[in-house]
Symmetry: C2
Subunit: 313 residues, 2 copies
């Protein structure tokens, strides 16, 4: 099952010739989530062959233009393409007002699809999405306006059946789901076979956190602990940390520190200030804290592989 992050935009507020404003596509179990929607996101989606139509959920971290100005064009395209599927938008409640006013100016009729608006706070963590296999939580951030990150997490997978033991104890097919969920097995003679005999531990549930925009804050460590992939903004280098603090942004070093303290598997940094023509100095700085750091390069897809896949039935 897929679990990946594709970078669509990596610049901070002022785009450059080589970098679009912030937008990311998360593929979690073949469902496509758009996280932030900077200007040009729809163009990037097409460029990197991510199907427009498969996006049913758009998560917005905060209401700065470089994270949402692509929304107007994307909605317009959905309308012209005669989209029918509900579109869920998770964002600060003010966005609903903005979208309503926008609609009034540009369209005389309702969209052919419904926008289901989910207001999102930024003071405390909140589960905003859940399905059979995964869930998404907000991560309260510290920015100049209300802002939150997003934690994508698999639910603990089922136990893996030991094929040899299942056959040996003649476990009927209809019992196997319960055993995968942790139940013991009572055989025909009435004997209890402990679950630990019949199963192997499941693979580790995968997780990914996307934190942008925010100043350095360790308050997020609890939530991002042990994530396989942390995307964290790194707008500036440490030598201008005062500017970073003043503007409620982070430095590359700070992003690296957080990844190290959180014991993350991998760090991707982005939201680079337009003053940097290449991300190299930012990546190098973060790597001093956390070697597994990569720069957000548009079109790059960071896949989280299933780390342990024991023998299964």
């Amino acid at each position: 099952m897929s679990f990946s992050l594709t970078i669509l935009g990596s610049s901070s507020a002022i785009p450059t010739s080589g970098r679009f404003p912030t937008a990311h596509a998360v593929n979690m179990h073949e469902r496509l989530f758009l996280v932030d929607c900077g200007e040009g996101a729809q163009i990037q989606l097409r460029k990197y062959k991510l199907s427009f139509g498969k996006i049913n959920h758009i998560l917005i971290s905060h209401l700065h233009g470089d994270h949402i100005f692509g929304l107007f064009g994307l909605l317009s395209s959905y309308r012209l393409l005669d989209r029918k599927t509900d579109l869920h938008i998770y964002a600060n409640p003010r966005l609903k007002t903005i979208l309503d006013e926008h609609h009034k100016h540009f369209y005389e009729t309702p969209f052919p699809f419904s926008i289901i608006f989910h207001p999102v706070g930024s003071k405390k963590k909140q589960m905003i999405y859940e399905d059979e296999t995964a869930e998404i939580f907000t991560i309260p951030l510290k920015h100049s306006i209300p802002s939150c990150g997003f934690l994508f997490r698999e639910k603990p997978p089922l136990l893996n059946l030991r094929k040899d033991m299942i056959e040996f104890h003649k476990v009927p097919v209809e019992e196997r789901v319960n055993i995968k969920k942790g139940a013991d097995f009572i055989n025909e003679k009435g004997e209890r076979i402990a679950n630990t005999i019949l199963t192997l531990p499941p693979r580790k549930p995968r997780s990914m956190a996307i934190c942008s925009d925010t100043k350095y804050t360790e308050s997020i460590l609890d939530q991002i602990s042990d994530v396989d992939l942390l995307y964290h903004e790194a707008t500036f280098l440490e030598n201008i940390r005062e500017i970073a603090e003043e503007r409620f942004h982070s430095t590359a070093k700070q992003a690296g520190m957080l990844a190290r303290k959180a014991n993350a598997g991998k760090l991707v940094i982005g939201h680079f200030s337009s003053r940097y023509t290449t991300a190299d100095p930012l990546v190098n700085e973060a790597r001093e804290e956390f070697p597994e750091t990569y720069s957000a390069e548009e079109g790059d897809c960071h896949r989280i592989e299933q780390t342990r896949q024991p023998e299964s039935s």
Copy 2:
């Protein structure tokens, strides 16, 4: 003196992976005008190395999203770059309301520069800009909402002095400007030397018309007659002219017919429907009517050269 059109976006309402929505940069005598501002226009400006800061005039043909959704990001960048110079925007008056509401949602303080808003009608032609050497008029178009094109026109240049005759008749320097404007010369003996003896005709004033979006209408012929360069939308091919008419757009054949009837020097077609993966069939169709047709390709700069430059003093 420059007179050129650079294509920044060539798609119609739904952008494709290879085409941005409509935006054009017109360089008229080293002044840079932005005509329409589809999503991503600021990114294209940077990509094609057209200086952001040199744009002091933005002309908007009509208020469909694919012609203005790039405006929000462009204004945001001007703010972050601490622009001070006045920015003139020429558009349907409703755009002012839209921009005012937008400002209220996204910014707590005024921009560091002034937006001078010039309301533009679309029922009759209107001069919207004039300087010492050039002028711009609106061209009323026929679209589903009020829409206008723009005619960029040089003022008739001054006559060219014949260096040999100026020397022969000993014309003092201070008299020469009047002669360039058409005056005769009275020499020291009181003799009148006719202007036609002293001058050569000026080069032809250059002109360019940008017409998008519109259905086919010959009502514009009067205004676009003899333009050196006509940009005209060609959203569809002639085989679906009914769709073009229904949506108030033009076909490539119609664009070609207009260029031919207007005796244009060159035709550039754009605003292609996303159904066409290449502009070739559209260009081929228009060329049957008007051979000097070219497709709008992003980054292409169409220069209008000075066609006649006689010997000058």
